[in-house]
Amino acid sequence: MNAKRIKRRKLKRPGPGKIIVSVILVIYSFLAIFLIGNTILSSFKTKSDLINNTIGWPREFTLENFRIVLVDDGFLRCLFNSVFLVGISLLLLIAVSSMTAYGLAQYRFKGRAALQTYFLVGLMFPIQLGILPLYIMLSRAHLTNNLFGLALIYTANMSFPVFVFTKFFNELPIEVIESARVDGAGEFQIFGRIIAPISKPVIATVALLNFVTIWNDFYMPLVFLTKSSVKTLTLGVYTYTANFLANWNKVFAAATVALIPVIIVYLLFSDQIVAGLTGGAVKG
C-alpha cells in the first residue's frame, strides 16, 4: 500500500501546524469526557454531596439515586420501553427493508427503476412532513401510545436501509444463488438460508446505526407516546431536565441509565456505526 507508506513517512515528523491542531482537538475532546464522566460519577453521589460537590469525585458512593429513579419513578418501565421499542423496530426494519432491497436488486421486472426511485423519496422528504396525517391514522387504528405502532413508523422510514441493502445485494456473487436454484431451493429459502447469513456485516451496520437513532429519538416519541406507561428513556430524561432543580439528584442517574447502553455500543462498534452512516451516503 503506497498510500500507507507515504502517510507513515509524513507521520514521522508532524509539522507544528498539525501538532497545534491536534492539541486543540484533544483539549476539546475533554469536554465530552468531562460531561459524560461527571454525569456518571454524580449519579452515585448522595443528595447533600451533590449540592456542594456537583463537579468532582463522590465523597461516598450510593445507589440510592438509581433506586429512586428506576423503582420509585418508574424508570425501569422507560428502560423496558426503550429496549422493547428498539428491538421490535430493528427486527421489523431489517426484515422488511432487506427483503425489499433484495427484490429490487436481484430481479428484473417492468417498473423496477421507478420503484427503486420511489423507495428513495423518503431520503428527500423526512417523515416529519406527514406526521399529522400519520398521527390521525394511527389514533384511528388505536396505535398511538403504542410501542408497536411507533415501531411500524420507524419501519416505514426505510429509504436509507433499503438504499444500503440494495447496494450490497447488487454486488452479491451470483453463482451462489444460481447453484442453490439448481439444487431446487425456493426463492425465500435462498434468501433466508444463503443471503441472510452472508449479509451479516451489512445487517450489523444498518442495525447499529438505527439502534442509535431510534434509542435517541426524541420527536417521534414526543408526538406518539404521551402516556407515562409507554414513555421512552429520552422522554423520561427530558421530563427531569425540564424541571431539573426539583429533580437534581435524580437527573444524573436517569441520564446515566440512558447513556450507558449507547456509550458501550459506541465503544465496541464505532466503526460499524460510521460505516452504516457513510455506507450508502458517499457514492450517490
Partner: protein
C-alpha cells in the same frame, strides 16, 4: 469490473425462472412504506386546503390556511421569524459547520497526532440523545449552577456572570455551538470516507510534484469531494429546515427568549399537537405549515442540486 460482471449475469441468467418471487419480497415493504410514509405526506397536502380540528366535518377552505400563515398579522410574524431562523441556521451550516467538518475530516485524513482518538471523540456526541445533550447544556450553561458561570464568577467576579440561554444576543450562538458539538461528527465522517476513496496514486503524484499541504488540499483533495459534498449539503438542508429537537430541549416549545430560536417545525408542533397548551388545534392549518416546509425543502434541494451539478459533473465517480 466486478459489478459489471454481476450485471451481466443478472441480465442473462437470473430472470429465467420464478420471476414473480420479487412481488413477495417487495410487497411488505411497499405496503408499509406507502401507507405510513407516502400517503401521510399526500394527505398533508390535501388537509392543508381544509378547515378541520380533527373531529367533526371537514370544511373546504381553499387557500385560507396559507393566507393565514403568510399574511395574518400575528401569525405571519411568528412564521417568518421562525423561517428566518431556519435560514439563518442554514447559512451557519454552509459558512461554519460544513467548512469545519471538511477541516476536521482532512486533519484526520492526513493523520495528525492522535488522529484515531480525535476521530473517536469528535464523533462520540452523535450517539448521545438530544435530551441528554440538553442536560449537558444545563450543567454547562445554567446561570445559577452552570460550570460556565462558576468559572466566570471565580475569575471575574459575580458581575461578569452571563445569562447564557436567557440572553437574546447569545441564545442563537449557543444553539449553533450545541449543534456543532453534537452533530459535527456525522458530516465529518462522510467527508472522511470520501477522502479515503481518493486513489493513492493521485496523492503520491502530487507529493512528487512537490505540492505543499495547502495546494494538495485545494487542488487535489477538495475537488474530489463532490459526492460527499452533495450528500452532506442535502442532509444539512433537510436537517436545517426540520430543526426541532435541540431548540425544543434547550429552551422549550416557544423558541426561548424573544423567540430567538423558534423554528418552523416548532411552530408546526405547537399548532398541530400543542392544542392543550397553545389554544387552538387545527389539522388544516398545521398541514399548511407542513406543506410549506415541504415546498421549501423541495426548492432548496433543487437549487443545491443545480448548483452542485456544475461541480459534480466534472468528476463522476460512484
Amino acid at each position: 469490473m466486478r459489478q459489471s460482471f454481476a450485471y451481466f449475469c443478472l441480465e442473462r441468467r437470473m430472470p429465467v425462472r420464478k420471476k414473480k418471487a420479487y412481488i413477495g419480497f417487495i410487497a411488505p415493504g411497499f405496503i408499509i412504506y406507502t401507507i405510513l410514509m407516502i400517503v401521510p405526506i399526500a394527505c398533508a397536502v390535501y388537509f392543508s386546503f381544509f378547515e378541520w380540528s380533527g373531529i367533526g366535518p371537514m370544511k373546504f377552505a381553499g387557500l385560507d390556511n396559507f393566507k393565514k400563515l403568510f399574511f395574518d398579522a400575528r401569525m405571519s410574524k411568528i412564521f417568518f421569524n421562525a423561517l428566518k431562523n431556519n435560514i439563518k441556521y442554514l447559512v451557519c451550516v454552509l459558512l461554519i459547520i460544513t467548512p469545519l467538518q471538511i477541516f476536521f475530516a482532512y486533519m484526520i485524513y492526513i493523520k495528525i497526532p492522535c488522529h484515531k482518538y480525535i476521530r473517536m471523540m469528535l464523533f462520540l456526541p452523535y450517539v448521545i440523545s438530544t435530551s441528554i445533550v440538553g442536560f449537558f447544556a444545563i450543567i454547562m450553561l445554567d446561570p445559577n449552577i452552570g460550570v460556565g458561570n462558576s468559572i466566570i464568577g471565580a475569575l471575574f467576579g459575580n458581575k461578569a456572570k452571563l445569562a447564557w440561554l436567557g440572553d437574546p444576543a447569545m441564545v442563537f450562538k449557543i444553539f449553533v455551538m450545541v449543534v456543532i458539538w453534537q452533530c459535527i461528527g456525522s458530516g465529518m465522517m462522510i467527508f472522511y470516507a470520501d477522502m479515503q476513496e481518493i486513489p493513492s496514486e493521485i496523492i503520491e503524484a502530487s507529493i512528487i510534484d512537490g505540492a505543499g499541504g495547502w495546494t494538495r488540499f485545494s487542488k487535489v483533495v477538495f475537488p474530489s469531494l463532490s459526492a460527499s459534498f452533495s450528500t452532506n449539503i442535502t442532509l444539512s438542508v433537510i436537517y436545517a429546515l426540520t430543526m426541532f429537537d435541540i431548540p425544543y430541549i434547550l429552551v422549550g416549545p416557544q423558541g426561548g427568549v424573544n423567540n430567538k430560536i423558534d423554528f418552523v417545525n416548532m411552530v408546526f408542533y405547537r399548532y398541530a399537537f400543542g392544542g392543550t397548551y397553545f389554544g387552538e388545534t387545527s389539522i388544516g392549518f398545521g398541514s399548511s405549515i407542513s406543506v410549506t416546509m415541504f415546498i421549501i425543502i423541495l426548492t432548496f434541494s433543487f437549487v443545491t442540486r443545480k448548483l452542485l451539478k456544475g461541480r459534480a459533473g466534472r468528476e463522476d465517480r460512484g
